[in-house]
Every structure is written in C-alpha cells, then in structure tokens.
Symmetry: C2
Subunit: 329 residues, 2 copies
Amino acid sequence: MRARIEDVAAAAGVSMKTVSRVLNGESNVREDTRTHVMATIEKLNYRPDPSARRLAGQRSYEIVLAYNNPSRNYLMDVVTGVLAASRSSHYNLVLSPITSPRDIDEIFVHARPEGVVLTPPLTDDPVVVAALKQRRLPYACLSPHDRKARIGAYIDDVAAARDLVLALARLGHRRIGHIRGAKGHGAREWRLSGYKQALTDAGLPYDPALVVDGEFLFESGVKGGRKLLAMKQPPTAIFAANDDTAAGVLRAASELGLRVPCDLSVCGFDDTPVASQILPALTTVRQPITEMARVATLQLIERIRNPKAGTMQPIGYELVQRESVGPAP
Amino acid sequence: MRARIEDVAAAAGVSMKTVSRVLNGESNVREDTRTHVMATIEKLNYRPDPSARRLAGQRSYEIVLAYNNPSRNYLMDVVTGVLAASRSSHYNLVLSPITSPRDIDEIFVHARPEGVVLTPPLTDDPVVVAALKQRRLPYACLSPHDRKARIGAYIDDVAAARDLVLALARLGHRRIGHIRGAKGHGAREWRLSGYKQALTDAGLPYDPALVVDGEFLFESGVKGGRKLLAMKQPPTAIFAANDDTAAGVLRAASELGLRVPCDLSVCGFDDTPVASQILPALTTVRQPITEMARVATLQLIERIRNPKAGTMQPIGYELVQRESVGPAP
DNA sequence: CTGAAAGCGCTTACAG
DNA sequence: CTGAAAGCGCTTACAG
C-alpha cells in the first residue's frame, strides 16, 4: 500500500499539518522537525496524492499549452520545454489545440489551468488575450508581437535577420530579395525590419519591389521565388522568412535552371530538419525553441505564485552557415 | 460558483448517488429519471470536478504516452491522435519522454496511468514491456514488431515496401539497393522483407551486397548512398527505409554528379515534410499517423474497461508518387 | 430502481 | 512553531 500523509505523520511523531507544511515548503517549521519529516517521507517513499491535494487545496496545478498553427517540429520542441519546466515545479501540462481563437474556451473544458503558455500566432490574437485577461489568468508568451506588458521568452528576430542579410551584403550582393512571413506573426514584421536595417547598414537602397508576401510555407517560397526571379533585374540573393519558404525558393530556382549558391544565394530561418537535409543545405538561424519554452514556462510559474513576478526573457540565437549562400555572381 | 453534484441532486429532487449514476452511465436508473437528471445537469451547466472524482473513485483517468526516439514530426502527430481519443473518452493525456528504457518507472513519478500508449521502438523494448506487464497495466502499441498478443494499430509495412519496390521493378530497374532502418524497430525488418518480396515477385535475384545498414537518419542515407553508388555495378534505384535516409541518398547522388531520377531513382517512406520540399520531391509512403494513434488509444481504452477487449487494428497506407523515381537508365 | 452514510487523502482556517 | 477539526466534491459499499 502507498503511504499516506497520515502514515508519515504517525511515523514522524508529528501532526498531518506539519507534514503538509514540510511538503509545501511553508515556513514556521523548526529546522530539525523539517529534517526529521523529510527523512520519514524518504523512508516511507511517500508521494502526496495529486487528486487529494487538488481537491483540498482547490487548485489544479495545471498549465495549459495552447497552440494552433505552428509546425509539428516547432510544437514538439515547445512541448518538451514546457513539460520540463512544469514538472520541475510540480505542475501538470495539459495540451490544448485551438481550432479557432473564438473557441478559446475549449481550454476550460478539459482543464482549469492556473496559467497558460501561448505560442504564436495565438500570442497576438486579441480574442484569446482578452479572454485570458477577463479570467485574470496568468499567461506567458513565446515570441509575441508586443513584448511590453507580456511575460515569456523571445529571440531578437530583428538582429538575427539583420545579421543574415548583412552577411549577404558583405558577400557583394546588392539586390537582395525578401519573402515575408504570415500575417499575424510578429516574426513577419521583425524579419522585414531586420532586412531593412541590414540594407541601411550596408548602404544599400530599399526597393519595395524586392519584398514579396508569404505565409511561412513551402508554397510561399515557390511562388515568391518565381516572382522575384522573373524580375527584369532579379535579386542575386533571397532572404526567406523561414526554412520552408527557403526550400520553396530552391525549387523555384531549380525550375529556372539557376544554381544555388553560384547563381543565387538563399537563406532561411529556424534551422528545421529540412534546412540541413535539402540540397544545398540552408544557411539559417537556429532558435533554441525548447529552451525558450522552458524559460517562458518558468516565468509563468513565477507569475502564478506572485502576480507581480515574471518577465520577458531574451534568449540567444545562432547563425548557421551552410551551403546555400555564396558570393554575388 | 460552480454547481456541485449536490446542487444538481437538490434541483432534480434525487440523491447524489442517482446523479452519479447518470454521470457515469451506470444502469439501474429509470429512463425518465435519467432524462430529468440530464436536463438538470444541462440547466445548471454542471461539470463534475475531476479531482474529486479521482480521489473518491481511486482512479486517475490518466493515459500515458511514452516515447523516446521518434522524430518530432512523428511524435506530434501521435500526440494529436492520442489526445483526440483520450478526450473523447474523458481520459487525460500525460506525456512521458523516456530517457532510458531502464527508467521506465519515470512514468509513475508523474502519473498513475490506467493505461500506456507505446511508440516504437519502445514497443519492442523487453524491459519496458516487462515492467508494464508486471504492474498489470494495459498498454497499446503503435507498429510493434510483434503484433501477436498486442493491441494497438499498425500499417502493413511489408506490403507498402513491396509496392514501392515493385513499382521500381516495373520501371525496368533490375539492380535496386536498400538502406535499412535502425535496429530495434520493427519497420527495419518489415521494409527489408517487403523489398525481398518485391524482388521475388518481379523475378529479380536478391543480392545481399545491395542491402546496407542504416539508422533512419539523413546521415545513414549519405553513407549508405555513397557505399552503394561506389559499387562496380551500382544500383539504378535505391529504396531508403525512410524519408530522412532518402534525403541523404539524394545528397550522396549529388556529390557524385548523378541526377535523380534520370541516373538514379530514389524512394523513401513516411511522407514527412522533407519529402515534398526536397528536390526532387520524394516518392514515398504516407502513414496516417494521427489516425493510427487515435485508433490505438481507443483500443487501449477498451482494454482498460475490459481486460479481454481491444485488438490490433490495421490502418491503410498510401503510395505517394512524386519526382524521385523514373525509368531505369 | 434509489438513497444515506462513510470515506478517498489531502489543505484550510483557526486556535494555541 | 505546532495541531485538531472540518471540509474539498465526488464514489463506494451497503441497505432497502
């Protein structure tokens, strides 16, 4: 039989309440009492029953991870990070795929979360955020568009995009195209912004014709790539908003008989598996997604414990140089 | 305030026990009593408190999804399927990454599952399976090596591999190479077996030199591809055990200046994103992973309810013809 | 077919 | 710093 708190109390010669105090790290326990109770817990291999704890404490210890669009790769990394952080703090993770932002209340059908982790683009959905605020539910965000008044984690997308494009400029590229990310994602704006900054830094003019729309998809790259490469003065390099898009550009280039990186340089963003497996392998930016998710969840937990705690944490990124970028032809 | 079972009982003019019976679909409730109680539940928008239910019932309603190796893509699809099935039956999903099969007891640190869903290669790990059996814990498997005495879901890997290789033979290929999957995965054996069957069906000899080892990785494809293509009589087609491996073969072919599919045909297995985004896009097999996970979980739930219920369900696969396969040169 | 009582294993609110 | 009592919201075992 499993040991109960009552058994521990009896074995340690204290009350259940004292054991409960030790368990929950509450103050007002004499140090040697605490030590003794801890030892007894260890000896009996006692683990508190989560259901009893929840019922009596009127708390769920649940953290919801809400998501909709992101790629499976991205999501699984996020799951890993959120799981690590929540477990280390004795919270339970409840997954909540959101079919439609209007159905944000779906979350509460399967959980009574103490806090929510939001992945983009849910982070910037006014309906979702309003619903959470109305319920006064703490939430943390991964790479939200608006970082002020939010807690969570992010990488400096602008700087990363700038670094990438600046590297292109240093290789002699003077006409650099950009295929944008999907609307509603902060990354769409940041990456364009980094692109523009790099042009300025390199003393290159900004030509709106070199910037085409996209949706973070392979198809965006094919379409955007065809459009850019069909220009009278086509770009010699293309910065795609993510790796899937860059893979699409590679396809468009191949259709036109262009060789990468000899005739055209291409870079992506994210360092997904396709980036290293495609030919040529993509120069891109690696985001430590699992770490971001872990840190964001930790911020959430701090805020759950203290409404004034929790911050927006910057996380480092890494430029990954591979084969898809070369000197301007 | 939330309604409690007591409130529903009072409003409906019955005892708590009767409401409980209706809630749990037990028999021995008069039909009109049931209808009336249901209406009252609806009216009060009553939802039973999960913690109280677990505590009183001494049940966890938890299903653990245990995983180690699989790719993030595969896993996220599995998660989606398991989540769908467990929620539809009022079970909760607990994720359990297994660092080492020896630490299978990790599962029980964070959950007291009523059942476990196992993903390959955990499905065939003797330590894991023994631990589950010893605890008399029902478990369902996704594509286990040994389907007998197991419940869950699978696709006919042998037939799928045979179809793929047979298509190659029909295009005139007479020397077809195979790069195998990782040890410990049932798929490693099945795909080889399907490969051999196809050769037999096509009246082609089986040449062991054309079969090289692999681990389901991109690197396996690069290495295996180089080895096969360096043969005195190299194959004109290569069946890689999965898409990542096939992507590696594409890379090896490119290094040697071989063009796919003109000089070499390549096919993979799984239809991961890389399969459609790589150049040339891969001919492969699509497994409905989410559906398999859903069905397997449903089998598990049946078994939880009845130790004799639950079966091993076959799921259909689909051949995806793309650009990486062509007539023999 | 229905119900009154006891109990699941914790925490809370209070007292000392 | 510590404890005795009540209660969280359900289900179980039993009785009728």
